[in-house]
């Protein structure tokens, strides 16, 4: 097509521009109708790739339920992937914020990543950072960031009740704990040991770096005296460990961390599934719980994803869904208004109080950290599929497990050398 600019067209164009400018002046809501740009970060690569994919499924579900809108504005998602390494998560978060110019972001998925993104959030005080599913304890306990919000409990909270159950009800004196050597398992080990050792239990700790593929020498070190094996691995590390433990003929009663007794493990095929039936675990969700909201949610999940998804939503998918609930409710509360350094939006986030699909109340504490319910689960075979079934529930678990904050902080940050295993004097 031949397009020539002549005087008449230029005049029309100028008039048009003027008209738009004039309307813009009369309607200050113009900017409000531009779409909200949300950054989304999860692990679509690396050891937690399956969990990351499920996080995306559940994010899509809640966006579709809301017609991709919140507070009267369309929400656009810019999606990025990391691989459970803190430096990669940090680089991708920076890319979302600084190059893709997102208004705020949701993510990341894994423990050490969360601490890195939390630190980055401090340099961008006028933007909200909403955690995706990462569960290291210190993310919201030490060096907290005023604009970092976490709508999932940390690894320590998720273990509430498990240590006591293993020591007192199962009457196990000594356990071996195999765990990943990074921030999230530190938190889980801490939560378990705190109760288990206080109740007089003894524990041996066997750490291995995230991404280990050959666990044979770790398995060889499990003490003969251990009465149960606590497995705090997840993703492909968890799969590798459990497969190799099964191959080695392992037969100890199994206790699982929150991301071990999960559909991201149970939906994968292999010899580990047989071994995992009977495993007792703790976490923010169970595949089977007697609550109509959960039945409805899992039915919608299966209807939406069919064979592509898991048998039931994974913990990672669930975490992102719950985080997105908080985000969308806060956006509705401020009618999509992100002006003024997002202060209104952040106040709405901090004041969140809603019910998750598990029927658990979700609130944030003064560090913008979730207070909610944890469940004690047992893995059962139902209809030819292994599922986690809730048999007990702890309500309103806060980040210090009910211990006064100063006293809890005095226990020190969870690490491989600070396992929380302090016997009661």
């Amino acid at each position: 097509m031949d397009f020539r600019m002549d005087r008449r067209k230029m005049l029309l164009g100028a008039l048009g521009t003027g008209a738009v400018a004039a309307t813009g002046l009369r309607m200050p809501a113009y900017a409000q109708n531009a779409p909200i740009r949300m950054g989304w970060l999860s692990t679509l690569e690396g050891p937690f790739a399956t969990g990351g994919q499920d996080a995306w499924r559940c994010t899509q579900m809640i966006m579709e339920e809301n017609n991709n809108q919140a507070g009267g504005r369309r929400v656009e998602i810019v999606r990025e992937s990391s691989n459970a390494q803190a430096d990669v998560a940090l680089a991708r978060a920076r890319k979302l914020v600084e190059q893709d110019n997102v208004d705020f972001m949701v993510g990341p998925l894994s423990g050490a990543e969360g601490i890195a993104v939390r630190d980055y959030s401090r340099t961008r005080p006028n933007q909200a950072f909403i955690n995706g599913g990462s569960g290291a304890a210190d993310t919201t306990l030490r060096n907290v960031s005023p604009n970092f919000f976490r709508f999932n409990m940390d690894g320590t909270q998720w273990m509430a009740g498990l240590g006591n159950y293993v020591r007192r009800t199962l009457n196990v004196q000594e356990v071996a704990i195999v765990a990943g050597d990074y921030a999230f398992p530190y938190a889980q080990v801490f939560g378990f040991s705190l109760e288990f050792c206080r109740a007089g239990g003894r524990a041996t700790y066997l750490w291995s770096p995230l991404g280990t593929t050959d666990y044979s020498s770790i398995i060889a070190r499990i003490p003969r005296t251990a009465g149960a094996l606590v497995v705090i691995h997840g993703g492909s590390d968890g799969l590798a460990f459990m497969t190799q433990y099964a191959q080695a003929g392992g037969s100890l009663p199994l206790i699982g961390g929150s991301i071990m007794a999960d559909q991201s493990m149970l939906s994968a095929r292999g010899p580990h599934r047989r071994l995992m039936v009977g495993m007792v675990s703790a976490g923010p969700l169970a595949d089977v719980v007697d609550d109509p909201r959960w039945v409805d949610f899992t039915n919608r999940y299966r209807a939406r994803w069919g064979r592509e998804g898991f048998n039931s939503p994974s913990i990672h998918g669930y975490n992102y869904y719950v985080a997105m609930q908080g985000v969308l409710l806060a956006l509705n509360a401020v009618r999509g208004d992100l002006s003024g350094g997002q202060q209104g939006f952040m106040r709405a986030l901090a004041a969140s109080d809603y019910t998750t699909p598990m029927g658990a109340r979700m609130r944030l504490d003064h560090n913008r950290q979730a207070i909610s319910d944890t469940f004690l689960n047992r893995i059962e075979e139902r209809g030819g599929q292994a599922v986690t079934v809730a048999f007990d529930r702890a309500r309103d678990v806060n980040q210090t497990l009910g211990v006064p904050e100063a006293q809890f902080l005095a226990l020190g940050a969870p690490s491989r050398d600070n396992t929380g295993c302090v016997a009661q004097s």
Binding site: E45, G46, Q53, P209, T213, D214, A220, P223, R416
Partner: protein, 308 residues
């Protein structure tokens, strides 16, 4: 053995006899896998002086293609599912290796830096294509039940049978390579080519064809390693980099182009990883690189390598 728990359950900070035996066996079985993968890498380098930085991609490609063939057969409970998977893995990796040699590396023979850069490029493309096609879900092969359970060994207790099979396969590969290189006409040509390519060509041997055969063989070994490795450990995105790095360390330690050297390198690296994991898991990776640094400092051509 009265104690039926894995490894007999030997505790303590220091290693007791039984634990030490288990850890050594773990190291040897891991070394077997490393040998299978690195021998192909060493072979290709030995003849063509090509540092094939896409060797890990051949491992991953073979594993994923093998898996795509294996899974439907396994779903039907066919006993030969795993065996067919192995053949598919070897064939696909070998075919891709040949394709790479014909289309890219053949005409830049002798330009080592260029070849290294091109193969790095290929490895990035292959990794992304595999991610796009197969997704990030981890997968694993399940060997027939006869070799997938555990075997009771003296001193050690129950031990995964498949890890012992791994040693058998590695020994088989080593012997076959030795026979091929030392007892066949092709082996004669390969060894002559290592010493002097031009002279070999002058005697009427079709050197590009020999190169192609070697590339197919080396790539096929990577594919074999892919299936064996993904039976013992999960198959995930990123294993390409891990096995490329391991292959590099193994041949640097053992000596480029030497099959016996590769075996020694694989054993050292496998043992270092397992002993490190048992004694100081967080820092075990350092041990491997300490060995590499020591070899580079004292014997830069590798333990059995010939001076350049």
């Amino acid at each position: 053995m009265s104690d039926s728990r894995p490894g007999g359950g030997h505790g303590g900070i220091w290693m007791t006899g039984g634990l030490a035996a288990t850890v050594v066996l773990n190291g040897l079985t891991l070394a077997a896998l490393y040998f299978i993968v690195a021998s192909g890498f060493s072979l290709i380098f030995g003849l063509m002086r090509t540092v094939n930085m896409a060797h890990g991609s051949l491992y991953m490609l073979g594993a994923y293609v093998g898996y795509a063939v294996f899974e439907p057969l396994y779903d039907q409970d066919l006993w030969y599912a795993w065996h067919v998977g192995i053949l598919a893995g070897i064939a696909s990796a070998a075919a891709f290796g040949v394709l790479m040699q014909v289309s890219l590396l053949g005409w830049m023979q002798g330009q080592e830096l260029r070849q290294a850069l091109v193969t790095i490029g290929v490895s990035i493309i292959v990794a992304d294509q595999l991610l796009a096609f197969f997704g990030g879900t981890s997968r694993q092969f399940f060997a027939p039940d006869s070799i997938f359970g555990s075997t009771t060994l003296p001193e050690i207790g129950r031990y995964p049978t498949f890890r012992l099979v791994q040693i058998g396969i590695a020994v088989g590969v080593g012997v076959a390579l030795w026979l091929l290189l030392n007892k066949t006409r092709l082996g004669l040509m390969i060894r002559a080519g290592v010493d002097d390519r031009q002279m070999l060509a002058a005697t009427g041997v079709n050197v590009p064809l020999v190169s192609l055969a070697v590339f197919a063989l080396g790539a096929g070994l990577a594919g074999l390693g892919g299936i064996i490795g993904s039976t013992a450990q999960p198959l995930v995105q990123g294993v390409d980099v891990r096995f490329l790095l391991t292959s590099l360390v193994v041949v640097i330690v053992g000596g480029m182009g030497s099959i016996a050297g590769t075996a020694i390198g694989a054993i050292l690296v496998g043992l270092a990883e397992q002993v490190g994991q048992a004694m100081f898991p967080t820092y075990s990776v350092i041990l491997t690189f300490l060995i590499m640094s020591a070899v580079l400092a004292l014997r830069p051509q590798g333990i059995l390598g010939r001076p350049a």
